[in-house]
Symmetry: C2
Subunit: 153 residues, 2 copies
DNA sequence: CTCTCTAGTCAGATTGTCTGTCTATATAGT
DNA sequence: ACTATATAGACAGACAATCTGACTAGAGAG
């Protein structure tokens, strides 16, 4: 329907990253709901994407997700109330608590991970597995660049 | 701080796309605010990302952004009130209106585009321009795959 | 000319995010 | 040890961005 315009107007890097990223979000959400996790909405995945295996502080999760600690606290409250995560006192810091996955939370994380792996395999099938492997590696390099702070050029 | 874990746990395709995508969103937002567009928030970019040059219907924008037409209408109201877009009657359909960029909206779009182009150039400088060009091309191919519907594998 | 579908809006509820404030604890400087 | 400052987290309230449901006007099929 819009093919001619799309061809005439090459897409910028923002759209090139946004479109497949949005596809991963949609796919994982569909698969997670299909697996029976009907009490979750897309926003509730944010904490999972930043939790370290040993557990993380709310403040740390908030920084990594680029949101306020109050907002992250709201999401963690929701997940804790439904048994996906738990808060435990941090033995190393009396002010702090560690947010950790429960058994239920780990099961959900496995479902999400499997969904992403299936999607990548599907893309590899359609793009060619060499191209997909190459893309994967280049994205890893780009992530390293993005995460390493540098003076703006 | 978390380097050992990150190395041990390879990132899934979701994170590999999310991290650079989020970087584009943050950078464009910073640059747009720095250019004096202080009445915009990240959500207001959504309509811009889907507007065709000749204008688009609210319904079409909503579909492309994967949100309801009411929500898209809310964002367009905001942008229209501040002079970034205008609604004109669609001569081809008496029910419909076309949402189009105004002069001010086109100026904003140029700022955003320039910001993305600078960011990609910065990445090319740090990643190597061959790698960046290759990544760009592979992402274009992936977008084509994502946009072409297919039976799920 | 009816029947059904579509484009857009109105109204209201809910979700997710923010700012501001507060308490308890940690940490650094004396 | 004592004080000053910084940090982790929570509470309260406001606002932003999204949703669902209901409606009007016009399009398009028969």
């Amino acid at each position: 329907m819009e093919t001619l315009h799309e061809l005439a107007q090459p897409r910028l890097i923002g759209a090139l990253l946004r479109i497949p990223f949005q596809a991963t979000v949609t796919r994982v959400y569909e698969d997670v709901v299909a697996a029976g996790y009907t009490d979750l909405r897309p926003a509730h995945f944010t904490p999972f994407q930043h939790l370290r295996p040993e557990g993380s502080h709310i403040t740390e999760l908030a920084e990594r997700a680029q949101m306020t600690k109050q907002s992250m606290g709201y999401l963690v409250d929701y997940l804790e109330a439904r048994g996906y995560v738990e808060r435990v006192l941090d033995p190393a810091d009396g002010r702090a608590k560690l947010v950790r996955l429960t058994t239920r939370g780990r099961a959900l994380a496995r479902v999400a991970r499997a969904s992403l792996e299936r999607l990548e395999a599907e893309w590899a099938r359609r793009l060619g597995s060499d191209s997909m492997a190459h893309l994967h590696r280049l994205l890893e390099e780009l992530v390293a660049v993005v995460e390493q702070p540098s003076a703006r050029g």
